[in-house]
């Protein structure tokens, strides 16, 4: 490219600034359009779900499926009234899990993060090893155990494991988080004669609030949509004790009403998706921060 000294330096500056502004404007337009295009693809299921949930029966199950609804029938959402007792069950299971899993994870993580004790390495290795074990190996004997104790078909089978340690991944997350808290707090308390339990309850617990909330929200989202657990442990009980996920699946497979009435099915699906979305919207700042904290930089 030959340089032409046709313009003086001021005009050259102005020209290059304009060129840059034009370039970034085009840049912006291109990037936004690509983003919108990608969003159209990725959001297709969500949009489809929302639109189908307000269509009438004739429209949603006609010979053709179309995306944009010609009719508006929000009464499809009445289907949720048939699931109220299951909703209550799900809420109970989720609430118990969401509180006790982070709590026990914090209780378990505290000695690893803050103290030296005999057998620390072995205990840590054992907890690490449980990550590797696939759920399938544990499920059948756990089912047998529950059957012997009489827990199959009862909701307790879904929340009883919450009291016992909260999962290795959660424990590691809390350990990482606790490591970032200054040790001087512990030492000051120790000098003042506090026992380990006191340090935990009074000093550490209030400070791990962020990661507690993060694990809480993750647990709620995971438990809300848990399908394999209820399928295995609750199927033998009465319908009244099902969770939402299980009842929905049972209705779908047992009768053709749902698979025929796509609009009502989608209305139910929307209802089931709302809590995780709402939780995420409210807590997203903390959650993304939680990923950073529990991330791989020590």
């Amino acid at each position: 490219m030959t340089t032409k000294l046709l313009y003086n330096s001021n005009e050259q500056l102005l020209l290059s600034a304009r060129r840059k502004a034009r370039k970034t404007a085009v840049d912006y337009i291109v990037k936004y359009s690509v983003a919108v295009l990608l969003l159209c693809i990725v959001l297709l299921p969500v949009v489809f779900m929302l639109f189908q949930s307000v269509m009438t029966y004739t429209e949603s199950s006609g010979l053709e499926m179309h995306l944009f609804p010609h009719s508006f029938q929000p009464s499809n959402y009445k289907i949720i009234t048939g699931y109220l007792s299951q909703l209550g069950n799900t809420l109970l299971v989720v609430a118990i899990n969401a509180f006790f899993i982070p709590l026990t994870a914090c209780i378990t993580a505290f000695p690893f993060a803050r103290a030296k004790f005999i057998g620390k390495k072995i205990a840590f290795a054992v907890i690490l090893a449980t990550v590797m074990v696939p759920a399938s190996v544990l499920q059948i004997p756990t089912y047998t155990l529950y059957a012997t104790v009489g827990l199959t078909g009862k909701l307790a089978s879904l929340w009883i494991q919450a009291f016992f340690g909260g999962g290795a991944l959660n424990i590691f997350l809390v350990i990482q988080f606790m490591r970032t808290l200054p040790k001087e707090l512990d030492e000051a308390a120790l000098i003042d004669g506090a026992s380990l339990f006191r340090i935990f309850a009074v000093i550490i617990m209030p400070l791990v609030f962020n990661v507690f909330v993060y694990i809480c929200i993750n647990t709620v989202i995971a438990q809300w949509m848990d399908f394999q657990g209820p399928l295995m442990y609750l199927s033998s009980g009465s319908e009244k004790s099902y969770t939402l996920a299980l009842k929905f699946y049972v209705d779908y497979t047992n009768s053709t009403y749902l698979s025929d009435h796509y609009n009502e099915m989608m209305a139910m699906v929307v209802c089931m998706s709302l809590p995780p979305v709402a939780l995420f919207l409210v807590f997203q700042q903390r959650m993304i921060g939680g990923i950073k904290i529990g991330g791989l930089k020590d």
Partner: protein, 328 residues
Amino acid sequence: MSIGIKHNSSKGSVGVLSSSLPCKIKRRKYSKRMLRTSLQCWVFLIPVSVGMVVFAATPILMSLFFSFTNYNGAFISQIGAFNFKRLFDFSSVAGERFLNSMRVTFIYVIANMAFCTVLSYALALFLHRKMKGIGVVRLLFYLPCLIPGFISGFIYMAIFRYSASGTTGLINTWLLNLGLPQLTFFSAKSTAIPTLVFTSVFGLGGGMIMLLAAFSNIPPTLYEAARLDGAGYFKQLFHITIPLSTPIVFYNLVTSLIAGLQTFGTYAAYGTGPEEEFNFMAVEIYRMAFSYHNYGLACAEAYLLFVIVGLLSIIMFKFSGWVHYGDD
């Protein structure tokens, strides 16, 4: 004055003098304080210990035991290695089904890992910029992830449905309106798994968010230095961004491997798919146990899955030399 005493952080003090005396003086292995602290710490560990024993150790051992029997939920009548023999005898029905489930699981996991890693990385790169409203865009990309897993299966069934006569799904309706022939998506053996892998594009948001967090951990001074040295976009990408985000990429790979090998949620919406194409290993184990009531065989299959997961994880860790742990 503590001249003659060596201090050892975990084991308490050992007297120099005592080790050079002719007679043996008894000294404790751990100090009193260490013992007291340990006791208190183990009180904290009571819940997880009980949980480990009851919900992890016992089931693992029970599963191992069951895999050598023909437990059917009520009683055991045979003990031996016949379950494993049946599984590796690929001409038997059980062996053939097991081989098929291994095949589909592996194909799905490998395709899924490759597809998701590359695409979520590209997506995260694309969205890692300061534009107005980029936060909203990122949120919208994460939205489909929040639809419960097995439920999204129902939605995809509706979108990708193929039927020669009767209601066709959304995409096939569009294709028909354009005069193109229908695509078989989930209804044919050859297109079932590719379609399933494609539907994971709707779930890219999760990995994308973690990658975005990793990208923002990279200090911008590196990019400035590179730009001063005249590095263009791709050079910066290959020499700064990719190496420094390898820990998260590795974490994503390992977790998607372990999760993918245990895929089960597809069973709700798709069942076992066309010609058992969605009969993944976890689905097969579940059916063997709760439909055919052959708990022994199911436990044997579960143990083989355990071995596979363990081996692959170890292999992944052994070959993780490419992971760059930054300034550790």
